[in-house]
Amino acid sequence: MIELENAGKRFGRRGAGVEAVRDITLEVPRSAIWAVVGPNGAGKSTLLSLILGFTRPTSGRVSIAGDRPRDWLRDHGAGYLPERFGLPGSWTVRDALRMFARLAGRGNVDADTAIERLGLAASADRQVHTLSRGTLQRVGIAQALLTPHELIVLDEPTEGLDPIWRVRLRDMVRDLGAESRTVLIASHDLAEVERVAHRVVVLDRGSVRDVIDAHEATAATRYRIVLAAPFDRMHEPFPDPETTGPAEYVVTVGNHVDLNQRIAALIELGGLIASVEPLRHDLEQRVRDALDRP
């Protein structure tokens, strides 16, 4: 759906300017949830700006469904949450969301539904300048998600949200994926990204360092298994366990079914399990590896 061919963006004059992103080639398919991660200044927001046509590439090409991004957006629209969402302070939440719904050809019902969904009922008639950072962020998410656009782009969506709303946002993004919408998320939050994204683009200093299949990265999960007492037959259900203590092992399994079958076998052999702890750092490790690569 979204295609970038050797796309680059330079701000300022050649030589003296800053190359925010360079030589990016990506193809984001329809109905996929992709995340863009990277350190501050990696070019995440610039990449999203190129995709949405806010800025034009200084090299290469960007298109959505074969069209120029701005042309496609004018015809189809998109949900978009900017990194620092804001609205004029004198507007009320309800009026702003109703306006955005109408601009997308929808009615007040959609805005009112979004208000309920994002827990904004108590703030609906308050002026924007009176809202807390977290509430304002939820207004931003509401305006991005209130209409059923095919493309949703969220820049740092968890910024300012409390843990409860982070979990709820995660569910909303999963729902979008289930509704076959294409979602792009730029985030620092690898733990959140790992839970929702199908693929993760690692960006650093304007270049794509890796595109990671998030499921693949988290599927071969490692676990720490602690037994009540040392057990010399541990290697039978778990070949090559790493021994990290007298009765403590780190094992690698293919998936959850595999893990359960091997634990059942361990218990069958007489092993007494004290705890099983997932070591879910594979995506983080792969991102680190990508960033450390010269």
């Binding site: 700006s49 949405l52 046509g53 806010f54 800025t55 034009r56 701005r70 957006l73 004018r74 015809d75 189809h76 629209g77 998109a78 949900g79 978009y80 900017p82 620092r84 969402f85 804001g86 609205l87 004029p88 004198s90 507007w91 009026d95 702003a96 109703r98 306006m99 955005f100 719904a101 109408r102 601009l103 997308a104 050809g105 305006q143 782009v153």
Partner: protein, 255 residues
């Protein structure tokens, strides 16, 4: 057109303080005119300058003339205040991006906003200026005043809209360019550019705000002469071209 009405309504709400400020500013002129009329008017039905001179000397007469001159610029002040940041403020705050992702034409949204703000500037001026003249002169100033208000609003409105698509500080820049236009027009009428290349002189005259045409409309109003429609046509053409350039810049502008 669905949604544009809401967009305009909220645009006006965001400018409510400016509108109230302009009303208060206009009220100062009306209070000054009413006070002058009250202390000097008597039974003549208009302000008596001789009586004003007797009361406060040349200071008071000069003050009234200054207030009258400033009141004559109310449409320019109103349109600059209302149109300031018509697009540039949204771009700087990132709001323009929120509109750009809606399935609506940005040209339509911002064009409608500019039109409504210019109409509002016209409406405020068309209330305050005739009322000011009515209080001072004791009679309806005529349709020439409405033509003058329209000409000022159209020239400075289109100029501010164009500058707003280019960068920030649009209203201040429009005021500056307007002053440059006044000076240029004065020098041109004084044959200051006789030795210059005609093409360059004419090109600069076309690019700068049409102060010569504006001056003709103002002079006609002040002299109780008919509206110079050829000057009005030139002003309308200049403003239309400014809007066309603004539309082209807006459609190509990075957000």
């Amino acid at each position: 057109m669905i949604g544009i009405g809401s967009f305009i309504a909220l645009s006006l709400r965001a400018r409510l303080v400016r509108v109230l400020g302009l009303i208060a500013f206009g009220a100062v002129f009306l209070v000054a005119a009413a006070t002058t009329r009250f202390v000097t008017g008597g039974g003549h039905g208009h302000v008596e300058l001789d009586r004003l001179f007797q009361l406060g000397g040349s200071t008071l007469v000069s003050a009234l003339l200054l207030i009258g001159w400033l009141a004559g610029r109310f449409p320019i002040i109103a349109v600059l205040v209302l149109m300031s940041g018509v697009f540039s403020a949204d771009r700087a705050a990132g709001h323009a991006r929120l509109y750009a992702v809606r399935p609506r034409s940005m040209l339509l949204l911002y064009g409608a906003r500019a039109l409504v703000l210019m109409l509002l500037a016209f409406a405020l001026s068309a209330i305050i200026m005739p009322a000011f003249d009515l209080l001072l002169l004791g009679r309806w100033p005529g349709t020439g005043l409405l033509a003058m208000i329209g000409a000022q609003v159209v020239v400075y409105g289109s100029l501010t809209a164009l500058l707003s698509t280019i960068g920030r500080g649009d209203a201040w820049t429009a005021l500056f360019v307007g002053i440059v236009g006044i000076i240029w027009d004065a020098l041109r009428r004084a044959d200051f550019f006789q030795q210059s290349v005609h093409v360059v002189r004419d090109a600069v005259s076309v690019v700068l705000p049409p102060q010569g045409a504006l001056m003709r409309v103002e002079t006609a109003f002040a002299s109780f002469e008919p509206v110079p429609w050829d000057a009005m046509l030139y002003i309308a053409t200049w403003a239309t071209l400014a809007f066309i350039v603004a539309a082209v810049v807006l459609s190509r502008r990075e957000l």
